[in-house]
Amino acid sequence: MPGPEGDLTLLDDVSLDVHAGESAAILGPSGSGKSTLLGLLAGLDRPTTGHVRLQDQNLNELDEDELAALRGRWCGFVFQSFHLVHDLTALENVMLPLELKGDPAARETATQWLGRVGLHQRRSHFPNQLSGGEQQRVALARAFAVEPALLFADEPTGSLDHANGRHVSELLFELNRDEGTALVLVSHDEELAGRCDRRWRLEEGRLHA
């Protein structure tokens, strides 16, 4: 990206692949480019050089709407700040990606997923009526409800206290195992990263295994 003293290289010669059922962690200090890498992998950004293939599709060849459709079909997301839609209830938040996919059974599927994360009784509550841990569990349900091939988790426990963080991370890995998704986890938490099958460290724009 352009900078005040010329072009700035955020990621340099980064190459990785993640397979179904695998969990991969990308570690690195703050500002190392983890979120940028995540954005590239999820088709939210385009590399200056190189390519990203997702489900055998070269993302460089797709336009914005095709990328969105691809994300909706194959990807799930869990964010550090949960990013639930404040105007929607817990159930409606989980239904959202299903409806965007055109799933006719969105409500039933979402209800089941909320049950799986233990929040069936809170389905009519709004995000501001839920604790941080509960919001993240709703986000997990939302992410897994579309049966993604790939789940991107950006510091999923970063905004939670230790107890809630443990609970959420347990749930994340359990669901990941049960659903057979490929999990790409971005974090600076060594303990969390240690639970993944593979680990990379991003330093000075380069990935180190």
Binding site: A69, R71, G72, S81, H86, D87, K101, R142, S159
Partner: protein, 820 residues
């Protein structure tokens, strides 16, 4: 000296910020509305007082059957006075005689306004600020026609010969009594003794017209009041204004209410936008405190920059307001210095800043009270909305007090505002909740759009209320302004009478018929007129049948009424009770107008007795009628069955339509019937229409400003939610939504908002039109193309909302990741 330089360098930086630009625009609009109304009101008040004084002849008038006592004259030494004597006299010219209403005046008559004269009967008019000089007289045009005289001739008033030096067209204090239509003769007061009319037993009306500084007038009035003789009465501007105060008071209240609504809406926009400003200032202020700045320094820096930056907006708005009032003064040809005093000017300039301070300052000050560490740690909202809103409303309440200037009106205006501010949103809430529940099965885009409204009631409801009110006000102002006049004119027959002619004699009827045939006029029925005074109801004298207060206040008991007969119910009348008489009905039946019947407690079956110039006339009430006084047809309080007035001295009244043409036709008619009086209805109608158009123009302009203010609030609300909206849109994209879907959701949100406001506004307008329709059009609602304005408003809100929120559509999904 570093601080002022830093201040000047950074003073205009806030204008780079969208939130500040919106705040500045809101302030400019509020400044425009407040300054224009304050200055215009000062002009209107002075002109109204002046106009009333013009019509009255002075700020105070002492009226009596004899000249004022010397002691009373002494009391008036410190003010300007004009003696005026009015009397009836007969002018004779060859074999023609004419009863005129003569008035002898002395300088400095007229105290207010100017006389309109003409050098000859149909000459070019000019104005004069003095009366006729001694030895001369000015005479009304009708009198010239009847006497067959012209300017330059000599006329004799009593024993005094006077040279006719001008035609008198209009006097500022000529009065408008329908039944006091003797032509006017104006002469100099010094010529009065020589006329010989002042003699024992002569009926004269002595007036002293008084003018001066308001405080002196008040003092003189108080002193004269204590010295009045039984034949004297005092009338001031306030007394005369009472009769016409109601429409002006309503107009003033409407203007005050509208301006307050504009101020409140602009204040709401300032409040929302300043919330954004506070967020931006928060970190800056906290860092300054970390670096050792005192609260005072932070305050000076923040507030200083904000104040310097808003000042141009306030001044520009006030300047535009001044410009508007200047343009109005020019159009209305208002001469002289501006009526607003220093206090009003100061208020016009400061009021917008008061508004800014009340809506923006509490939030900024709150920021200073928050510990720096808390701000830097939390990074969130540092405001207490309820407290700040309460403080914010103090400003508008103070403005309301200044605008209304009376506790009664302040209470009324604040009451209306509270009702509008609470009832409207409260009415919307159940509907919004119902829609929210029903929308669970709606298509995704529509549901998401609705949720953005229904799940944010604190923002949505006031916004809906503001937009509804603005749309309804604009529609009503546009429609009822001139439209009612146009519709009313349209409802009148094509050839509705434009002249009234009365005091006709029997022998005038064929003359009139021939003249109308010649000039293609359209006649209306002829009504016999007998002057009579009501003396008994059910045989009981009035002084026993009616209370003293009613006797004093009911005008119909204190003057001769015009009694008439008719075979059929006039078109402008409607029978409410009883029955009209048959074609072969005999004399002695009477139909009474509804208001006067109610006032005097007259019912069908009662008898009413009048005393006339001949004797008494008694009739039995057979019906009560509703009269459309606005129909511009001859209308009567009491109408008798045919033959009831056969034995009385009667003249005739009629009306007719005359196509446009020369005034000489009318002179020709009056020469043939010199005792008749002609009333030009067109002139009255034109004047009423002119006033209505001007008032409606002002109301429409205000409504337009109100609409602009409501749209500003929309802009501010969008601005306040911009970041969240952008993140929501980015989230939708991340979760797989196409750009078109996100755009649809966003547009649908504004369509729903606009449609909700338009629907509610239409309901409000129809609810307001229904009583108007009932009152003016016998139930027919004046539906018009203006009803489409709410639809146009939907389009406007959608387009504006779309434009203002397009940045949030452009938010890249990656921003969401970066935001955590």
């Amino acid at each position: 000296m570093r601080r002022p330089r830093m201040l000047s360098r950074t003073a205009f930086r806030p204008w780079r910020d969208g939130a500040f630009r919106l705040l500045g625009t809101a302030l400019a609009i509020a400044a425009f509305a407040l300054s224009s109304v304050l200055l215009l009101r000062a002009e209107l008040n002075e002109r109204f007082d002046q106009r009333t004084a013009e019509v009255l002849g002075g700020q105070l008038v002492l009226d009596g059957s004899r000249a004022p006592e010397p002691a009373q004259r002494e009391l008036m030494d410190a003010v300007r006075t004009v003696p005026a004597v009015e009397f009836r006299t007969v002018l004779v010219r060859d074999e023609q005689t004419l009863l005129v209403s003569a008035r002898a005046v002395a300088p400095p008559y007229p105290l207010f306004g100017r006389l309109t004269l003409a050098p000859e009967r149909f000459g070019t008019e000019y104005t004069a600020d003095h009366g006729p000089p001694p030895g001369e007289a000015w005479l009304a045009g009708q009198a010239l026609d009847r006497l067959g005289v012209q300017v330059g001739d000599t006329i004799t008033v009593g024993q005094k010969e006077l040279k006719l030096s001008a035609v008198l067209k209009r006097e500022p204090d000529g009065g408008a009594g329908f039944y006091s239509m003797s032509p006017r003769l104006l002469m100099h007061h010094d010529d009065l003794p020589a006329t010989g009319v002042i003699a024992e037993g002569t009926r004269l009306d002595h007036e002293t017209l008084i003018a001066g500084p308001p405080e002196r007038i008040t003092q003189v009035r108080s002193q004269l009041q204590d010295s009045l003789r039984p034949d004297q009465e005092l009338e001031g501007v306030d007394d005369a204004a009472e009769e016409t105060l109601s429409p002006l008071r309503q107009l003033t209240l409407w203007i005050s209410l509208s301006v307050l609504l504009v101020a409140l809406l602009c204040g709401a926009a300032i409040y929302l936008a300043s919330g954004e400003r506070v967020q931006r200032h928060a970190r800056h202020a906290a860092l300054m405190r970390c670096f050792g700045a005192s609260r005072r320094q932070v305050l000076d820096d923040l507030l200083g920059r904000e104040f310097v930056a808003v000042l141009p907006a306030s001044l520009i708005g006030s300047g535009l307001g001044v410009l508007l009032v200047w343009a109005i003064r020019r159009q209305m040809e208002w001469q002289g210095a501006w009526s607003a005093g220093p206090a009003v000017w100061a208020l016009a300039l400061l009021a917008p800043l008061v508004l800014w301070a009340s809506f923006a300052l509490p939030r900024l000050l709150r920021l200073l009270r928050t510990p720096a560490g808390e701000v830097l740690r939390a990074g969130g909202d540092h405001t207490r909305p309820a407290l700040e809103l309460g403080a914010a409303l103090a400003g508008p309440v103070a403005l309301a007090a200044l605008l209304t200037q009376s506790w009664q009106d302040l209470g009324l205006v604040l009451g209306i505002l509270v009702v509008l501010g609470t009832v409207l949103p409260a009415l919307f809430w159940p509907g919004l909740r119902w829609l929210d529940r029903r929308s669970a099965r709606w298509p995704l885009t529509l549901r998401l759009a609705l949720r953005r409204l229904s799940r944010r009631p604190l923002l949505t409801l006031p916004l809906l209320a503001a937009l509804t009110l603005a749309i309804a006000t604009l529609t009503l102002a546009g429609q009822t302004g001139t439209r009612l006049i146009d519709d009313w004119q349209g409802q009148l027959p094509d050839k509705a009478a434009n002249y009234f002619l009365f005091n006709l004699l029997d022998e005038d009827k064929p003359v009139l018929r021939d003249w109308l045939d010649k000039h293609k006029g359209e006649p209306s029925p002829l009504y016999p007129i007998v002057r009579g005074r009501l003396t008994r109801i059910e045989g009981t004298p009035i002084r026993e049948a009616v209370t003293k207060d009613k006797q004093d206040s009911e005008e119909a008991l204190n003057r001769d009424l015009a009694l008439t007969t008719a075979e059929q119910v006039p078109e402008s009348n409607r029978i409410l009770e009883g029955e009209w008489w048959d074609a072969d009905a005999g004399p002695g039946q009477v139909s009474v107008e509804a208001d006067i019947a109610r006032s005097l407690d007259i019912d069908p079956g009662d008898s009413v007795t009048f005393v006339t110039s001949r004797d008494e006339v008694t009739g039995t009430v057979t019906s009560i009628r509703e009269v459309d006084w606005a129909s511009f047809e001859p209308n009567f309080y009491f109408m008798f069955s045919p033959g009831s007035l056969a034995a009385q001295d009667a003249t005739w009244l009629t009306s007719f339509w005359l196509p446009e043409g020369s005034g000489r036709r009318l002179s020709e008619l009056l020469q043939q019937m010199p005792h008749a009086t002609l009333l030009d209805v067109d002139a009255l109608l034109e004047r009423a229409e002119q006033i209505a158009r001007q008032a409606s123009g002002a109301a429409f302009l205000l409504a337009f400003v109100l609409m602009g203010s409501a749209l500003l609030v929309l802009g501010a609300a969008l601005l306040a939610g911009q970041n969240q909206r952008g993140l929501d849109n980015a989230l939708l994209r991340i979760l797989g939504a196409r750009h078109a879907l996100v755009r649809r959701v966003q547009l649908l949100e504004f369509v729903l908002l606009g449609a909700g406001a338009a629907l509610a506004a239409t309901a409000l307008v129809l609810a307001a039109l229904w009583p108007l329709g009932q009152r003016l059009f016998d139930g027919a609602l004046p539906i018009s193309a203006w009803q489409l304005l709410p639809l146009a408003a939907i389009a406007l809100i959608t387009v504006l909302g779309g434009l203002l929120s397009r940045r949030s559509l452009a938010q890249p999904p990656l921003a969401l990741l970066k935001a955590g």
